[in-house]
Amino acid sequence: MNFLNPLFLFGLGAAAIPVLIHLFTRRKPREVRFPSLDFISEVNQSEIRRLRLKQLLLLLLRTLAVALLAMAMARPSLQGGSRGGSAASTLVALVDVSGSMGAPDAEGRPLTATARRVVESLLATLGPADELLLVPYDRTPRPLSETPIADAVRLRAASQTLTPSAAATDHATALSVAARALTGSRALNRELFWVSDFQRTGFVGAPATSGSELDVPPGPWGTSRVYLVPLTPRSRANAALTNATLAPAADLGTAPALEVGAVSYDATSGSTAQDFALEARELASGAGDAAPGANGATGAASPNLSLGRGFVSLASRGEGRALLPLSRLPEAGGEVLLPDDALALDNRRVFTSGRSGTLRVILREDGTSSPLRLALDAGSPASGLTVRALDAAQLAAGVGDADLVVIGDVERLGPAELQAVLDFHRAGGGLLLVPGGRADLMAWNELLGTLKTATMAAEDSAPAGAAWRLLRAVAGHAILDGFPARPGEPLTQARFTRVPVVRAAAGSRVLLRYDERHAALVEGDRVLLLATPLDAARSDFAISGAFLPLVHQAARVLARGTAAPSLYPGDTWSAPASATWRIEDEAGREVALSVETGRGAARAVSAPLDRTGLYRAFADGRLRTSFAVNPDPREGDLAPLPEASLISAFPNGRARLVRVGDDLAARIRQARFGRELWPEFVIAALLLLVAESVIARWGMAGLAGTPRKTG
């Protein structure tokens, strides 16, 4: 028990008052002459012990009553405490501003509006010595300051800017930031306020049932108080678009079509499938290839830009796909729309098309089309790749316009071409190196040595009847998305009878291998060495189902950093810094760029792309490329983690739920200082005084109605 006004404890001295009164104000008994003391002494003998006991009891009751009143004024409280009455509290407010927080609440306002109100309530509880770290977060925590601050004005201003982003949720990362801030605090009270919809998909490895445990990052949770403020959307029935890409056949003379993927999260009741209307519209290309700025591309699609309509069938929970025929191929890109539901964010998905919408791949190759060229060119431009095959003479001139250079025959490059390739790489460009079966080891090792990627040796042959398999060596790499996930698993059924001996250089890593001695895919610094023989004498990999997606994903990751057809909000876009870049979002707003140098190259890197939509990148004033930023489909799953799992994730008794509408200040006071006990103390003191009166009166009961003699 603590006292919020401990100075009043000096009032305990008043408890001595009854004793002092008893000791010093006892009047001298007056003398009364009486006929006979027989009765008095007889009664007194029997009563004297009870009288003394009663007097002691009365004295005790009076002393206790005064002491309790003094303690009541000192405002006793259970748990918590504020020694001195103004101990500092460090508060961390984690405020979820992910895309799902844009869902409307029961009053039709975004959940972030409610979160703002909660933060304002929280700010109102701050004392002069308290400090707070405001951490809005989605996939990335963005703390307002490095350490908690007491600047209420700044905090209040920051709280007003809390709006939902388009990014996905990563609770754990935000929680780590909070843990660090609380660990660094030396305040007596350390409190975490976590305002979120507690979307289950925001927890990596979230438990499936409410009884399971949720792993939270380590932190001072045992000595902190955690307030969970769950925000609930008006509805969790939501359908989300997961994919919108041009069908590969779009450029083959047939009618263009759009592959649309969607997922339903409790969008309908029951399991009966329901058709959701789809509408595809063209996004205006704006300036086209012209210089940016003056024309200002607009993202608003006018009705005459409609590309087609269709339906996708979705069960209550499940995925659906649809091929949406397009009236024409959009020039720069388009969007697909779903009808409004619980979350508007994921009802729109943007796709790119046209030349600017593809990655430009330069393939150094002579002669007829190789399996590598066929694979790269397959589905173009719907695949997002545009392949140009150049001979050695053209390479030096053409490499400047490339996003990626693919080289299959280093041995045929002259010094000037080789230098052009190395310059391209130093400027931040990506290289996909695919040595063939008859590779000149000396030429290749010279290049690989320069790139510090790997070394190659003469190929080994498998024993008769045996063959190598292509095995996964790492987990969770973008190039290998969609392939068997566990390291050691074969990527494909393809067999390899002769493979080169490849060893990764220091700083490079092996993504695929045949065995410990033979690496198959080595990742260096913006370099990928795919040491898979493609001729039929050595393997059937070129005709396996894994070859094409592996090459496409490798090309995308090298050129853009991701294998996905679009970026997620919060991603950055980068390109070789050889040109002057300018990026605009769909509304024509410029996105900040910075040049990052490192590992021998300079790349232009955009600021995190916060908005969804179609972005355009201009190199030296001309439209160079366009790319889409679409929300993470997982953000559309509005199902929360069970509250029991949330609470049990923290040490017992440290986490408590605070509902919207609760008196947050009262809850904080009660938890921080404990429940105040002064009413109980006052009641106890009054009861003691009543008891004292009753006991005192009890000894005079027989005198009722008779006259009294006063001294």
Partner: protein, 314 residues
């Protein structure tokens, strides 16, 4: 007897209201002389008798007197009325066949007078005894008196002549309250001394062991005496209204006791009531008239008790 100057009737007959005024101890306390007190008390008492159910106290015809309004009709001489058409009332002369002994406690405790009382217990007892003596002599009963404390202090044998009243009153007036109450030896001694059967009137606070007191009374009863006990207490003794811490000093022994009176008052009253009940019950069993009085009780109650007892004796 000389009447005092302060409002005492001397010549003309007082009205009934004025006469009854003298039954109040607070009024009697203003009278200095015991004989005056006795006369006035008795006159006040007799003045009110015509309204009481008491039927007179004389049995032998003495003379006629004119009928006065208020006289009982039963005393009207109907024969004279028939013969002479005059309204005459018969007056009787009492037979002298009762010997009364007034025993007055003169112990120290009888000197107690609280602030609420006008008379001390002794003064009350003296006044009452004097009134009884006056009444008895007036009825030609023989009256004797005994003042006692631990031992008999002064004794006057019983006689019925009117001049004996002065002797009795002088005896009653003598002495100051002192010493302890020792009723039993005195009662036993007197019981042995009085040979002729009569009426014994004890006026005391009975602050002695009840068994001893009752033993003494039993002795009188054994000698076929009739006994009336006037148990006289002060109001404060009965109600014990003290509130502040007090040191009580025993009037008889000088012993002291300091206590919180209001704490023990209830138990004290219970004890006192039980003690009086014990006397009342024992007296009833011994066919002794027990009359509890406090010093504010009007005298007529005691006088009436005496007359009722006398009526049973005659």
């Amino acid at each position: 007897m000389n009447a005092p100057s302060h409002g005492v009737p001397s010549g003309s007959r007082p009205s009934v209201r004025e006469a009854r005024h003298w039954l109040d101890p607070a009024v009697v306390a203003r009278l200095a002389h015991l004989d005056v007190r006795a006369r006035l008390v008795v006159e006040g008492f007799i003045a009110g008798m015509h309204r009481s159910p008491f039927h007179g106290f004389s049995v032998e015809f003495a003379e006629h007197r004119p009928y006065m309004p208020g006289d009982p009709l039963k005393n009207l001489d109907w024969k004279v009325l028939a013969k002479s058409d005059r309204y005459l009332v018969k007056q009787y002369t009492e037979e002298t066949n009762l010997r009364a002994h007034l025993l007055v406690d003169l112990s120290g405790s009888m000197g107690f007078r609280s602030e609420r009382a006008s008379l001390s217990k002794l003064e009350y007892a003296r006044s009452l005894a004097a009134a009884l003596a006056y009444l008895m002599i007036g009825q030609q009963d023989a009256v004797g008196a005994l003042m006692f404390a631990e031992t008999p202090l002064q004794y006057v044998p019983s006689r019925s002549v009117r001049s004996h009243l002065d002797v009795v009153l002088k005896c009653l007036s003598a002495g100051e309250p002192a010493g302890r109450t020792r009723l039993a030896p005195v009662l036993h001694e007197l019981a042995e001394r009085i040979k002729r059967r009569g009426l014994v009137v004890l006026l005391s606070d009975l602050l002695d062991k009840p068994a001893d007191v009752l033993s003494g009374l039993q002795h009188f009863r054994h000698r076929r005496h009739e006994v009336i006990v006037f148990h006289i207490l002060d109001p404060d003794e009965i109600e014990f209204p003290y509130t502040d811490a007090s040191t009580f000093v025993d009037l008889e022994t000088g012993a002291q006791l300091t206590t919180e009176p209001w704490e023990i008052a209830a138990r004290y009253r219970q004890q006192l009531e039980s003690w009086r009940d014990q006397y009342a019950r024992a007296c009833r069993e011994q066919r002794v008239d027990y009359v509890p009085l406090d010093t504010r009780t009007p005298f007529d109650r005691a006088l009436l008790a005496y007359l009722e007892k006398r009526a049973t004796l005659l």
